[in-house]
């Protein structure tokens, strides 16, 4: 089998398009670049058609591969030959600048490359590692006692990243904490990673407003809509989008010897602090200070804890199975009760 391997064909294509003085048309690529079979001569029309179709398929795949690995493929149309598109790679746009990484830094990058596991971004991470290591002299490093894993990472992330880069509109099914399940059409602006949680920031086309989405709450496939370059990304993402979405402080009463994780994250409120704090309790109608005073001493300890997402804190309170009592905010206390009641309805039928 004398057919050139795909990697070698792509390499020849890169060299040819980088050296082309202005551009290369599809026919020129097909006839001259090693690895493509060239236009057949003197064959029956349906043979020729089959060969054309095979070339088109191969060339489209090769273009996708080049774009995926970051080669900026420019399309150049000739004013005299308008219909025929040509291609060109400008070397200055394409090259990897030296990164000046130390061998220890490359070693930590190879740990990081394992982070995405089976998700599509894992393949991208390994390609990236080869790229950044190209400029660093080889040196054997000690094995490092570190590792990183993402178990919930989804292919949605890589599609979203592509769409941000290409400025292409996306559509997906989404469950939000406030408005429930529905379909969203979004101009994607930026991926934000916060404490291992991935978020998409963008403009909701239907609501005509900027929004933030948790990527893990996207279900099913992310669809690309329309053409690339469909919108402008704002240079600066307004920080208010993010801070508005990331919670506040809750006050929670805990049974002694329980809620240790909350205690470890939060601050214990002593009686004096509680008397200063006017914290209305929605669920029991008393202030935190009254709560502590009226209960048998020592029955409750009260902590104040910062939360990122109300729903995540609600899950944590629920999972303490009655050892935690929400004093504020009211929305959290009500939500905890609502979830418990709804669970009972299903469990008891």
């Amino acid at each position: 089998m004398a057919q050139t391997d795909a990697a070698e064909r792509l390499l020849n294509l890169i060299i040819a398009l980088t050296h082309a003085p202005r551009r290369m048309t599809r026919d020129e690529i097909r006839d001259t670049v090693a690895g493509y079979s060239g236009r057949p001569r003197g064959v029956a029309p349906d043979e020729a058609k089959k060969s054309d179709a095979a070339f088109e398929r191969m060339f489209e795949r090769d273009k996708d591969d080049l774009r995926r690995m970051g080669v900026p493929l420019r399309t150049v149309t000739d004013p005299l030959d308008g219909a025929d598109i040509g291609y060109k790679i400008v070397a200055a746009d394409a090259v990897m600048p030296p990164l000046d990484l130390t061998p220890a830094e490359v070693a930590v990058l190879s740990l990081a490359a394992e982070y995405w596991q089976g998700a599509t971004l894992g393949d991208d991470a390994r390609l990236a590692l080869t790229k950044v290591a190209s400029h660093t002299p080889h040196q054997v490093t000690e094995p490092m006692p570190w590792a990183a894993r993402a178990t919930g990472s989804r292919d949605a992330t890589s599609i979203v990243v592509d769409a941000i880069h290409e400025r292409q509109v996306v559509r997906f099914d989404y469950t939000s904490t406030s408005s429930g399940y529905g379909r969203r059409t979004v101009e994607p602006w930026r991926l934000v990673v916060r404490g291992g949680t991935e978020y998409l920031v963008g403009r909701d086309v239907d609501k005509d407003d900027s929004r933030i989405y948790r990527v893990s709450r996207i279900h099913g496939a992310v669809k690309l809509l329309g053409e690339p370059g469909a919108f402008e990304r704002p240079a600066q993402i307004p920080s208010s989008i993010f801070s508005a979405a990331v919670g506040g402080t809750a006050v929670i009463a805990l049974r002694p010897e329980s809620g240790h994780a909350l205690r470890a994250r939060g601050t214990a409120l002593d009686t004096a602090a509680l008397q200063d704090a006017v914290v209305e309790s929605a669920s029991i109608g008393v202030t935190a200070a009254e709560l502590v005073h009226e209960q048998v001493p020592g029955e409750w300890d009260v902590v104040s804890v910062h939360y990122e997402h109300l729903d995540m804190l609600r899950d944590e309170v629920l999972s303490l199975r009655g050892a935690a009592k929400v004093i504020s905010p009211e929305a959290l206390a009500l939500s905890v009760m609502d979830y418990a009641r709804r669970a009972l309805e299903v469990a008891r039928g």
Binding site: A34, M96, H138, V336, R342
Partner: protein
């Protein structure tokens, strides 16, 4: 099936860049650096050697030094300008996102910070990802465990488990891992007399002892548990993202609902997950799962109302 095109192409370009930078490199060195076998590197060099401009005229191909090639050393005579390609948007996100998550979790070596800065600087305004730090792990706990892990010293810790029990344990730490942005220490726990993966944000105190780590590191990470029985949950599609994360779950869409079938290892854990999506639930089978769910919900309501 031969190797996929992109990993090989990226390596071919990497070899050109590496050998250009270094002047020359042995095939063994290239094999170790790019993580493939020496015969594969030889094949790669041969492939590069026959690559070049269309038409394959005499001077238009990549050229290596033939004498050095016979000694299994790569040295470039003519590169045709072939060099490594810059990072794509996805590649950049893959590296920066992973590094940043390690850093944000608190389980990262110091060089992760400098590596991250160099890559982020390279991306400039093209960087499509922002990483926001959170402070969940006590810096003292993280620093002490980092010290114990690097110096291979035993540590005494105060730990709060998922069922909220506080225990004092002596551990032999082997590795710090960031899983989904959460930091864990992989260790041998002398109290359990077994290997454990413990969350750093559940460790309230660490004392590093002078005693060296003696237990060998575990061969594998993670947990393998056997399911006791199979459960089926029907819920509105809004809960799909939670159901998708149940281990080995099979999901089928049924109109506006989704049916999830999965193995139950720990019924209380499953009940917690279901409680978290209570408003979406339509049906839960079998009875033991419903009982656990009802029991948890009752306990929550008793406290909330009392």
């Amino acid at each position: 099936m031969a190797e996929k095109a992109l990993p090989r192409l990226t390596r071919l370009l990497g070899i050109m860049t590496y050998v250009s930078d270094q002047g020359e490199a042995s095939f063994d060195e290239l094999a170790a650096h790019f993580g493939v076998s020496t015969p594969q590197i030889r094949k790669d060099i041969v492939a590069l050697w026959s690559a070049g401009l269309p038409g394959h005229g005499g001077g238009d191909l990549i050229d290596f030094d033939g004498f050095l090639f016979d000694d299994s050393i790569a040295s470039i005579v003519e590169s045709q300008g072939v060099t490594q390609i810059r990072l794509s948007a996805r590649e950049a996100v893959a590296l920066v996102g992973a590094l940043s998550s390690m850093l944000a979790s608190g389980a990262a070596p110091d060089v992760a910070l400098s590596a991250n800065q160099k890559i982020t600087a390279l991306l400039g305004s093209e960087n499509p990802v922002t990483v926001v730090a959170t402070r969940e792990v006590d810096a003292m706990v993280a620093a002490a465990l980092k010290d114990a892990t690097i110096r291979r010293r035993v540590a005494q810790i105060e730990y709060v488990d998922a069922a909220d029990r506080r225990t004092s344990r002596v551990i032999e730490p082997h590795r710090l891992v960031a899983i989904d942005g959460v930091a864990y220490v992989e260790c041998y726990c002398r109290r359990a007399q077994d290997y454990r993966t413990l969350r750093l944000d559940r460790i309230v105190q660490v004392d590093v002892h002078d005693e060296p780590v003696v237990a060998p590191a575990a061969d594998s990470t993670g947990f393998s548990l056997v399911a006791e029985y199979t459960a089926t949950v029907i819920a509105a599609r809004g809960a799909r993202w939670v159901l998708e994360d149940l281990p080995s779950v099979v999901l089928t869409d049924e109109g506006d609902d989704v049916r999830a079938t999965f193995g139950v290892v720990d019924v209380d854990w499953v009940a917690d997950r279901l409680l978290a999506i209570a408003p979406y639930l339509r049906d839960v089978e079998p009875q033991p799962v419903r009982d656990a769910l009802a029991q948890h919900a009752d306990a929550v309501l008793a406290t909330a109302a009392g």
